[in-house]
């Protein structure tokens, strides 16, 4: 079986190299059959990688522990779903998974555009397949998932494997890596179209119209992946942390930030023909940061709890990253004249200017995170001394930037395109500013004394009221004109311009997330020791230990505590935190009990029995407002889906100034 898998990836590698050569030769040698052959190679690569992945998954499910990868990442006791997820649970398998996802994306792109962009598609194929060839070469020559354990030394059967890390045996971990990879890998496509458009000097903004939805969907995958990771950390690690500024977490955040900046600034190019260089830089940066993220995770370049062990892929990834950066920069610099803006900025006080500013701040945040992530590596290389950059640095640098971005989120919708007068600004700002100040004032009177939290809550109220104001004004106008109920008018308003109002919904979700982040300023934690039938008071809760029971399953042994939770003398819940000890790995893992509410989460971690066997030890946490973080995600998801729905009304924007001859106005959904 493993030979079929190994042969499939080897053939896929050969075909990827052929596809690059055929696409380029076909394009510049004017040999259309070569371009067609390159396109068909893309389908063949997908088929071969699907076979290879199928072989690996089959080996994992059936427990073929002769394979080093299977032995290292699965065992007999693991449930089938986790055996399946072991496909991407280790270095070699995850590289195969990366390659397979990219081949799937490439096949979809090639199929969807089989009759479009004849001059651009060969370059798109060449860029996609160059990336694909690199990843398949890793799977084929450097980190093969089909390597046989002790091959040639007479061992033909291995009893059992080591199993997957117990912390990873959790439902969010089943889907967290795929979503993150879908986001990482997905941005190769907009990058390929952008570069192809640049290299072939396409007229207009075809690459943006083609990849806009693609960019939004991959951004949504990235967001979902990051949020699932946060949700997993919150639930599984046992201390309620959801973001630790770990280098690998940062690596997933970096392309997300540049992708967010791109989704904003790309509107400027669509509507005004401005910021073409900037968009090219952002889409390239997103791709390169995705590769950097993959490099950080896989090479052990930075020390991280998430990173795979030191592996031989490091020099190859570093070389690929540097080469891709140099080539991309070269392509952009050589083609700068092609990227000249068509329109001048009419006023500093305009939506265009605010987009620029928003991009600047997003990039500053991206740089601060990147700098903090890489500085220890640079420092060690320069001075030979190891340095730690932990949460205190990131919080100090990023909280002010984050709050300023939140402020800009509220300001953006209030400023008109082209130019805003001071009077109109004053009118638009007055009510949201009063509401923001009122909320901060009310919280101060209510006893909140945390300055950053007050500022954050005030800004959240400001942004939320500015967004709701936009919905209110638009809906009232439709209601007055068409005499329909207000909810119907709001629905109609959103449908008429899904991108704009979907975007506002996304912003609303981000505000909710900020409410969740801010709540962490008021977290509480205590360690309590409880005997049977003993109670303790924590926050507003009376917590009583009812029982402690032991249990056993084929995969793990467990000890479970049952706690009775009361509030104001009334029983409100029973919570059952437990500890598991996995038999194969001998690793212990806590399964916390969480009572989730919008105002606060009660989070209890049962950590064992005291040495005299008389009391159970519990670490208890109160996490105020943390659920707003998860609620915010669902609003972001909903808003993004709204953005993807075609608008009922297609608006025509004639560019105000166009360099060259315009034969027809640009057709853009606003």
């Amino acid at each position: 079986m493993e030979n079929i898998g190994a042969l499939s990836v080897l053939l896929a590698f050969c075909l990827a190299v052929f596809a690059v050569a055929a696409a380029v030769a076909g394009k510049y040698g004017r040999r259309p059959f070569l371009v067609v052959s390159a396109a068909r190679s893309v389908y063949a690569i997908w088929l071969l990688l699907t076979i290879a992945s199928g072989v690996l998954v089959y080996s994992l499910i059936t427990g073929d522990y002769r394979l080093a990868y299977v032995a290292a990442h699965s065992n007999k006791a693991m449930p089938a779903i986790y055996k399946f997820t072991a496909w991407w649970g280790g270095q070699e398998g995850s590289l195969l998974f990366w390659s397979w996802l990219l081949s799937s994306y490439s096949a979809i792109v090639v199929y969807n555009n089989r009759r479009k962009f004849q001059s651009m598609m060969p370059i798109v194929i060449a860029i996609l397949m160059t990336t694909e060839a690199f990843f398949i070469s890793m799977v084929t020559f450097v980190a093969s998932p089909f390597a046989v354990l002790m091959a040639g030394k007479g061992i033909i059967n291995v009893g059992d494997g080591q199993g997957l890390n117990p912390l990873l045996q959790w439902w969010t971990m089943v889907i967290h890596p795929p979503f993150l990879y879908l986001g990482f890998v997905g941005f190769v496509v907009p990058f390929a179209f952008a570069m192809a458009s640049l290299i072939t000097r396409q007229p207009g903004e075809a690459w943006i119209h083609t990849t806009r939805r693609w960019a939004i969907v991959t951004w949504l995958f990235q967001t979902t992946g990051v949020m699932l990771g946060m949700g997993w950390a919150y639930t599984v690690l046992g201390w309620g942390g959801y973001w630790g500024w770990d280098p690998v977490e940062n690596a997933s955040l970096l392309p997300w930030i540049t992708a967010t900046a791109f989704l904003h600034s790309v509107m400027m190019q669509e509507k005004k023909g401005m910021m073409k260089v900037w968009n090219m830089v952002l889409v390239s940066a997103t791709f390169l940061l995705s590769i950097l993220g993959t490099t950080l995770t896989r090479t052990g370049l930075v020390s991280s709890v998430h990173a795979f062990a030191q592996s031989p892929v490091k020099p190859y990834f570093t070389t690929f990253l540097i080469s891709a950066t140099v080539l991309t920069a070269f392509a952009i610099i050589v083609n700068l004249p092609y990227l000249r803006s068509e329109v001048k900025l009419e006023s500093v006080v305009s939506r265009e200017s605010s987009f620029l500013f928003n991009n600047l701040i997003l990039l500053a945040s991206c740089f601060a995170v990147l700098w903090g992530t890489l500085f220890p590596v640079i420092m060690e290389a320069l001075s030979g001394e190891k340095e730690t950059i932990d949460a205190p640095y990131y919080n100090r640098v990023n909280i002010p930037i984050g709050l300023f971005l939140l402020f800009l989120t509220g300001v953006g919708p209030l400023i008109a395109w082209r130019k805003s007068s001071l009077d109109s600004l004053k009118r638009a700002f007055m009510l949201p500013a009063i509401i923001g100040v009122a909320v901060a004032g009310a919280l101060t009177i209510g006893g909140v004394r945390h300055p950053e939290a007050l500022l954050s809550f005030g800004l959240c109220a400001f942004v939320l009221s500015s967004i709701l104001g936009e919905f209110w004004k638009g809906s009232r106008a439709i209601q007055g004109k068409e005499h329909v109920a207000l909810p119907r008018a709001a629905f109609e308003l959103t449908w008429r311009n899904t991108r704009r109002y979907g975007g506002y919904l996304v912003h609303m979700g981000i505000v909710f997330m900020f409410v969740g982040f801010t709540g962490s300023a008021f977290n509480q934690q205590e360690t309590r020791y409880l005997g049977l039938d003993q109670s303790t008071r924590f926050g507003q809760y009376d917590i009583k230990l009812l029982t402690v029971t032991d249990g056993d399953t084929p995969d793990y042994a467990k000890s479970q505590a049952v706690l009775d939770i009361s509030k104001n003398g009334e029983e409100i819940a029973q919570m059952q935190p437990e500890i598991r000890e996995y038999k194969a790995s001998q690793q212990q893992s806590s399964f916390v009990a969480i009572r989730r509410r919008l105002n606060e989460d009660l989070y209890i971690n049962y950590s064992g029995i005291t040495s005299d066997n008389k009391k159970a030890i519990f670490k208890m946490y109160l996490f105020p407002l943390v659920d707003w973080l998860w609620a915010g995600y669902w609003v972001v998801l909903f808003g993004t889906l709204v953005c993807l729905v075609p608008s009922k009304v297609r608006l025509l924007y004639a560019r105000t100034e166009v360099v060259g001859i315009a034969t027809k106005p640009a057709t853009v959904e606003s």
Partner: protein, 170 residues
């Protein structure tokens, strides 16, 4: 002394003793090396190197953290020996290296960590203002005839609106 008053005195004394005892409780709790305010204060300057949370020793929320708890004990012993916050941090950095700090010092190479985001932001502002200056549309120069048309309309507006801005009655 009347019986009633004696009882009241006794109650007051009991209440006072209770208040006094209660006021000692925080001090007693503070002696716990893991929760002492001095330990948590110093701990916030030191990195928790357990490899799991990436918090500071003072803010590490992990239960029985294999790195944070012994480090808090170590800090507690130093506070008991009368060392100041700076002395404790300096001693630990001397023994463990600069890796012990939760964030790099604002001196030497460590200064770069702090100033680079700021420098990047300043450069960004320069790029932004340069872009705005370069791409800002210059105010349009009007020809003499366009100016004459504008003047004519302006004076018509003034005439029709009157001095106080109200539209004259016809």
């Amino acid at each position: 002394m009347p019986q009633n008053l004696r009882q009241w005195n006794l109650r007051l004394l009991t209440a006072f003793a209770a208040v006094l005892a209660l006021s000692f409780i925080p001090a007693l709790i503070a002696q716990d090396p893991l929760t002492s305010p001095a330990v948590l204060r110093v701990g916030q300057r030191l990195a928790c190197r357990c490899g799991g949370c990436r918090n500071s020793v003072g803010t590490c929320p992990m239960i029985h953290c294999e790195f944070g708890d012994p480090m808090r004990q170590r800090i507690f012993k130093m506070t008991q020996a009368g060392m100041s916050d700076d002395e404790i941090v300096n001693t630990i950095v001397r023994e463990d290296g600069i890796v012990a700090l939760a964030a790099p010092p604002a001196s030497g190479w460590g200064l770069f960590t702090w100033v680079m985001p700021g420098i990047a932001l300043v450069i960004g502002f320069f790029v932004y203002s340069a872009y705005v200056r370069r791409h800002r549309k210059a105010p349009e120069q009007m020809t003499a005839s366009e100016q004459a048309v504008l003047d004519r309309f302006s004076s018509q507006i003034d005439r029709e609106l009157g001095e106080d801005g109200e539209v004259p009655q016809k």
